[in-house]
Every structure is written in C-alpha cells, then in structure tokens.
Amino acid sequence: MPARVEALTLERPRSLKAALSMLARNPALMPIAGCTDVYVSMQFGTMKPQRFIDLWSLDELRGITVKGDTLTVGALTTYTGLIESRHVVRRLPMLVAASREVGGVQIQNRGTLGGNIANASPAGDTLPVLAAANARVVLRSSQGRRTVPFEQFYTGYRSSVRRPDELITAIEFPAIRGQQWWRKVGTRRAQAISKVMIAAVRGRDVRIAFGSVGPTVILARQAAAVLQTGGSVADAQAALLTEIAPIDDIRSTRDYRARVAANLLAQFWNNSR
C-alpha cells in the first residue's frame, strides 16, 4: 500500500460545472479518473499524497461524436471505449492499435485518454498518435473553454500548458487523409512501458511522431519534411536522430532507442504508400 490513505482527501463533484468551480477555488486539487497511475505514483514516490478531485462519474466527459470532419472523444473515454467505438475504429485505427497495447484488459477498462494526456509521461501510449493525428485538446475552466493544438500542449518533461484550474474535457481529431501507422516497442507483448514508439500518417502531408525518445512526445518535423519532399529514408533517419533525445534508463539504452527509432521510421516508410 502506498501512502497512508488517511492523508488523502477526495472531492466528488456531481457535475463538470461543480468540478470546475472547485478547481477555481482550489487549483491544488489533483484531478483523477481511472486511477491506473495514481496509486502507483504515490507508492513509488513520484507523486505526493494530496487532495484529489474525482472526475470518474462525470458523464459529460464521456461520449464519442462525429460532426462533419471532426471526431470528438470525451476525455473520460477509456482505452476499451476507444477500441469498441466504431467511429474510432473507422477514423483512427492507429488510436485503436495503441489502446490495444496499453497494459492488459484491466488497465484498458479503466485508463482514460484524458488521463494519458494529463499524466504527461514521455512514454504515454496515445501521445504519439495524437501528435501524428494533429489532434486538439479541449480545456475548460470556470472561465471558459479553449482548444490547444496537441503539438503545442507540452512544454517540457511532464509539463503542459494546462493551468491548474483547467480540465481536459475532450480531444478533437480532424479527418485524417492518408495511411495511419503505429508501432510500440516494449519489454514484452503486454504490460509493457514502451521503449520506443512511432505513430505516423502518410498522405499528402506526412506527420511522424515518436514516444519514449525525449522528455515528451516528439513530432519529427524534419524527418517528415525530408520524406515528404522526396528525400531518402537514410536522410530522413539522419534528420530524425537530430530531433530525438533518447536516454539510458533501467529499461533500455540510448543507443538502442536511437537505432530502433531510425529502423521504425524506415519500416513505416517502406511499408506504407
């Protein structure tokens, strides 16, 4: 058991409006939803025990809708919810692929897309997908609503533009024109934190994103530009290596991550049209 449970408090707003008011009054409240990381972080000391605000029952943050070209996914959509949504299956197969490789079924049934974004891990499984998909994060506070392009959402290691009084309420995806590609390299076939991850779209525009090779998800603009303008895979790989910053850690090495990221890039380009 992680922290002493008596040291924690849990606010349980009944509506999004109530939640936002609570956050406005007390921005130190930590929003929680599926809780697949909360207890783990507390136990391993990466999160201090504190006052939480529970979003789990806020159905306003659920739901997947399509309007025109835009697919909107509620922040509380679980990975299972993404996998089972016919809209997501049709429009964002790479998001379904990523969701299928999160942990195991038990984690998929509880972890949420909003939580994956808010948790801001460099290894977040959906984050390269959101970058490659050019998604937009919808943030709300008691002051109002704003939308942030996903590629501008993170400012550094585990930090984002989300203000403490804001909640991620939904993620918007434009129509994706082109082939989608995704691959995660983990320590085993399930229950694996990724060592390297690629998500990409090949259409008239090429967008390529990598996870676990930097302090945050990396949109490989230069590598994509090389390929988009007809450059060679080798040149794109060279460009990629200047854009990523992999490290040695207890799971893998810098050299492995760099080499495999380059290989994943080549595999994507050589196997897509």
């Binding site: 058991m1 992680p2 449970v5 008596e6 924690l8 408090t9 849990l10 349980r12 929680i32 809780c35 697949t36 909360v38 207890y39 783990v40 136990q43 939480f52 529970d54 789990w56 299972t80 942990g103 195991g104 079924v105 038990q106 984690i107 049934n109 509880r110 076939r189 399930a190 229950q191």
Partner: protein
Amino acid sequence: MRFTLNGRARTVKSHPMKRLLDVLREDCGLTGTKEGCGEGECGACTVLIDGVAVDSCLVPAAHVEGLKVITIEGAAKTRLGKALQNAFVEHGGAQCGICTPGMILAAAPLKPGASLHEIKTALAGNLCRCTGYPAIFRSVEAALTRKKEVIRARAR
C-alpha cells in the same frame, strides 16, 4: 458506500481512496482477491465491476458506489465462472493457485468460440509464474467448450 457484492447489497464505511482490494479483503472479509504487486501488473487482484475486469489494487472504494462487484467468491454467478473453476481443476490450470482467482475473473467475460489469441489477450494482464500458461489456456478452452455444449444442450 453502497454497492452490490457477489449479488448482495453491501454497505461499507471506508475512506473513499481506500483501495477496493483492501475493502474487499479487510472490510468484507473476502480474501480470495490477492495482492501480488500493488501496481496493476500481475492481475492477481482482478475483480469484475459491472462485468468488466479491473485491477482492484488500483480502484478507489468511491468508484464502486452503486455498481456490481464480483470477486472469485462470486465467480459462479458469472456465465462462465463455474465452468472455469471446474476446468482449472481438471486441466491443471492451477498449481499454487495464487494467480487463479484473477485468471478466472479475467477469463469470465470471454464468449464461447473465443480463439486462443482472444483468450491470451483477455489474460494478458494476469501473470502466472508456476504454469508457464499452456495449462491455463487449456483450462479456459475447456471451459468455453463445455459452456458451448451446455448452451447447445439447453437449446435442444
């Protein structure tokens, strides 16, 4: 906190952030749900909430309010539970047994006709150190086959 536990209404007074695993084992006295890691990796703490498998070591007590929880003690209440329990005994799916409650509940939502890959996927969040897994797959397949036969027999 009010919820349904293995088919019966239950009221528990506990801190809202107390882990469901601890609520089940300590407040409800049901020790069939096991703690193998406390970090959602081993699945030994798997329970069903409204029919869906979750790691109870990661669920705050507050989140089961008004919902239906099934632990291994109530596995026979699920469609496949009893068949799984029998199959694990018959086919050596349980050696030391510590992972077995979680395995059975993770397998319980499977539909008859599930492929080996679907079985592996349903169990991917459950670790076993004794069996190496083949006997667990055989047990689940046997339970699914048996269930299919029972359903067919009833239909006739």
